[in-house]
């Protein structure tokens, strides 16, 4: 298998996640799509690690996972607070930070 296949797959996954971020209105769905994007990136890293014969890609994925975990936790906490205050999980309703 060539690296190009993995890269293309990664791109497809990333695109899907990106579209999902714009598309979905539920906060938690948003976070899920972000996770997809992160995974796509991780796939890329691992592929490069394999085909270039270097381990650094995998190390980086390691750290990405740590950060993803932290970010998911905090994001969910925000979602909880949002729901508690607004009774809604739609991002469209959280639009006070505007001009």
């Amino acid at each position: 298998m060539d690296i190009n296949h993995y890269l293309i797959l990664s791109a497809l996954l990333f695109a899907t996640g990106a579209v999902g971020v714009i598309f979905k209105r539920n906060v938690i769905s948003l976070l899920l799509c972000i996770e997809i994007m992160l995974n796509a990136a991780n796939l890329s890293f691992i592929a490069f690690s394999r085909f270039l014969g270097q381990v650094h890609g995998q190390i980086f994925v390691f750290f990405v996972m740590v950060v993803a975990a932290a970010e998911a936790a905090v994001g969910l906490a925000i979602a909880i607070v949002l729901f508690r205050n607004r009774e809604t999980l739609s991002v469209d309703d959280a639009d006070l930070m505007k001009w």
């Binding site: 990106a18 971020v21 714009i22 948003l30 469209d92 959280a94 639009d95 006070l96 505007k98 001009w99």
Partner: protein, 645 residues
């Protein structure tokens, strides 16, 4: 003593500063003391310096006092330098002497004014500027004084600033002067371009001496150009055609101002400048012709206008313009010393006439129209006596001062071959005598044409005003004796005294004609003057209704002259209104409001519109933010794609 030359302008400057800064809080006596004291000190110092100059042999009467270097920029060096020579000494005495006398007069005249301190502050400032002008040793410093007197003229003409006409007159004076100043500045620049120097000494030496000594060869063309440009400035300051129109209007100022500035000193600055630059003018025959022609034309024109004016000060104003023309004629025929001589005698009797007029106005509770005066000689005898003397002097009746100076000019015109100038000058002398005595007769003789109210307040002026009148009267009588003509068997002391100052000019010695011609011409001018006086007597005293009858018969001509040939109206239509209209419509509305304001406001509204557009980006919507980020990522990828291709 000459080391203290710098004190002469300093005294009035200090007086002006003190009165200007603190005058509002000082009592009148203090203001008077400071101002008149400063003038007195200047005068005394001028006298003593004059005496010390006399103690030197004639060749050494050329002293330069250098104080500091003002501007030094490449070749252009302007120093704060004073030049003391016979010419500037004469001017010093005239300026400080007459100035001091007029300051004394002003004590009484301006007594009841609110802005008493302001008046004296400006008067002292004027003295300072005029002294700078007269003493300076280079063109630029003279220009500083030139501008300074113009400023003071504006300030003093507009002294009664609550009156719109006064403010307008001040502006008119300043603006018309400015036009002349353009010529003056161009002249100075041309001098610098030609000689790389603006010191009088250096420039005049360059012109006069052998080209081998100085590396500059100044052709006649350049000198003519310089002379003409400088003369433009002189026409502005000394009220010649075409820039004389401000002087009659300047009568809005208090009468001492008219006496000092617009008769004796400031307006003579142009004459002084031409005479100072005699090395240049005398080598540019065309320029001299222009000077003489403009001078005689102005003299004649102004005299005719003076015939029909009713305001006593206006008559004197036009008379000043006319006499200044005479001075320029003197310079124009090469008789520079004669021009200065007439300047000096004119200062005496014209200042006297103005101060006398002020006394009359003061006595008449502010009335200035001569047709409403009459028979004042019983009520104000001293004023009458002094003014009549001055009228005799200006008409050129011997042995008063005006005779000698005016006659010198006429004689030099004739003997230099300018018979046309002589003839017109003679006619003008007749006119001068006529309108001067018309003034005297209308004011002091005949029936009393004023109201009962005025009659009750009629009084001779206080001593502080009459003593200066008497002083000037004495000077008008004896002032001519310093310049007695050769046919009386003596050398002309005045001309002899001024010789060192005029040494670098091309001397135009009159043809060695016999003295008898000169006596004949002198007698002729006296005759013409007496004819003028008699005619005035006949019209205004012997037959009271004659004047009106004469005016009715020559209605058109009378109206033309009464309205000063409509020159002001012509200037208004041709120059002023288009300029104002152009300024308003084009420069103000189109350029300033439209373009400049439009650009500035446009930038503002552009920003506002742009901001309004950008505002829409911040809608608080997470999803749109995400799409923008994605758009950015796409853009980056696009760039990378293109870069790699």
């Amino acid at each position: 003593m000459t080391d203290f030359l710098w004190l002469i302008p300093l005294f009035p400057l200090a007086g002006s500063a003190v009165n200007g800064l603190f005058g509002r809080r000082l009592p009148k006596s203090a203001i008077t003391l400071i101002a008149c004291g400063a003038a007195a000190l200047s005068f005394l110092l001028s006298c003593s310096i004059f005496l010390s100059l006399l103690s030197l042999p004639p060749q050494q009467r050329h002293i330069i006092q250098s104080y500091f270097t003002w501007i030094e920029s490449g070749d252009f060096v302007a120093r704060a330098e004073f030049l003391l020579d016979p010419l500037s000494a004469v001017m010093l005495l005239v300026v400080t002497g007459v100035g001091f006398v007029i300051h004394i007069y002003s004590i009484g005249y301006m007594h009841s004014e609110n802005g008493y301190y302001r008046f004296f502050c400006y008067m002292n400032l004027f003295l300072f500027s005029m002294l700078i002008l007269v003493l300076s040793a280079n063109f630029l410093l003279m220009f500083v004084g030139w501008e300074g007197v113009g400023l003071c003229s504006y300030l003093l003409i507009g002294y009664y600033f609550e009156r719109k006409s006064a403010g307008d007159a001040g502006k008119k004076a300043f603006i018309v002067n400015r036009i002349g100043d353009v010529g003056f500045v161009l002249g100075i620049l041309l001098v610098f371009v030609t000689f790389r120097n603006i010191d009088f000494g250096h420039v005049f030496q360059s012109i006069a001496s052998d080209p081998a000594d100085f590396p500059v060869e100044a052709g006649v063309g350049i000198l003519t150009a310089i002379a003409l440009l400088l003369f433009v400035g002189a026409t502005g300051k000394s009220a010649q055609i075409p820039l004389y129109v401000w002087l009659p209007d300047a009568m809005e100022g208090p009468t001492p101002v008219s006496a000092l500035i617009h008769a004796a000193t400031m307006v003579t600055a142009g004459v002084y400048m031409v005479v100072r630059c005699s090395p240049i003018f005398s080598r540019a025959p065309i320029a001299l012709e222009v000077v003489a022609v403009v001078g005689i034309a102005t003299a004649f024109l102004a005299a005719t206008i003076g015939l029909a004016q009713r305001d006593i000060k206006r008559v004197l104003a036009y008379s000043t313009v006319s006499q200044l023309g005479y001075m320029f004629v003197g310079a124009g025929v090469g008789a520079f010393a004669a021009g200065i001589f007439h300047l000096m005698t004119h200062a005496f009797f014209k200042a006297l006439l103005f101060l006398g007029a002020g006394s009359v106005i003061h006595a008449m509770s502010g009335e200035q129209d001569m047709t409403r005066m009459g028979g004042l000689r019983r009520h104000t005898p001293i004023t009458f006596l002094t003014m009549a003397t001055a009228a005799l002097a200006i008409s050129g009746i011997p042995p008063l001062a005006g005779f000698f100076s005016k006659d010198e000019i006429l004689w030099r015109a004739w003997s230099g071959g300018h018979s046309a100038l002589w003839l017109i000058g003679l006619a003008t002398a007749g006119l001068t005598a006529f309108y001067m005595f018309r003034l005297v007769f209308l004011t002091f003789y005949g029936s009393e044409r004023f109201s009962e109210d005025v009659r009750r307040h009629l009084h001779e002026s206080p001593r502080s005003m009459t003593i200066p009148l008497v002083v000037l009267m004495i000077l008008s009588v004896v002032g001519g004796f310093v310049g007695l003509p050769p046919w009386l068997g003596v050398t002309n002391q005045f001309e002899h005294f001024l010789e060192p100052s005029l040494a670098l000019a091309v001397q135009s010695h009159p043809a060695a004609q016999s003295h008898s011609t000169e006596v004949l011409l002198a007698g002729l001018s006296v005759l013409v003057a007496l004819t003028g006086i008699y005619a005035a007597y006949r019209i205004y005293v012997a037959r009271p209704g004659a004047a009106q009858a004469l005016a009715a018969r020559m209605q058109g001509l009378y109206r033309l002259v009464f309205h000063k040939y409509y020159v002001d109206e012509m200037y208004d239509a041709v120059l002023v209104n288009p300029a104002v209209g152009g300024s308003r419509e084009v420069l103000w509305k189109a350029v300033d409001v439209g373009i400049v304001d439009g650009a500035v406001n446009g930038v503002g509204s552009l920003m506002r519109s742009a901001a309004r557009l950008l505002k829409g980006l911040q809608n608080g919507l997470v999803r749109s933010y995400a799409s923008w980020i994605l758009l950015g990522a796409v853009a980056v990828i696009l760039y990378l794609t293109l870069a790699h291709n």
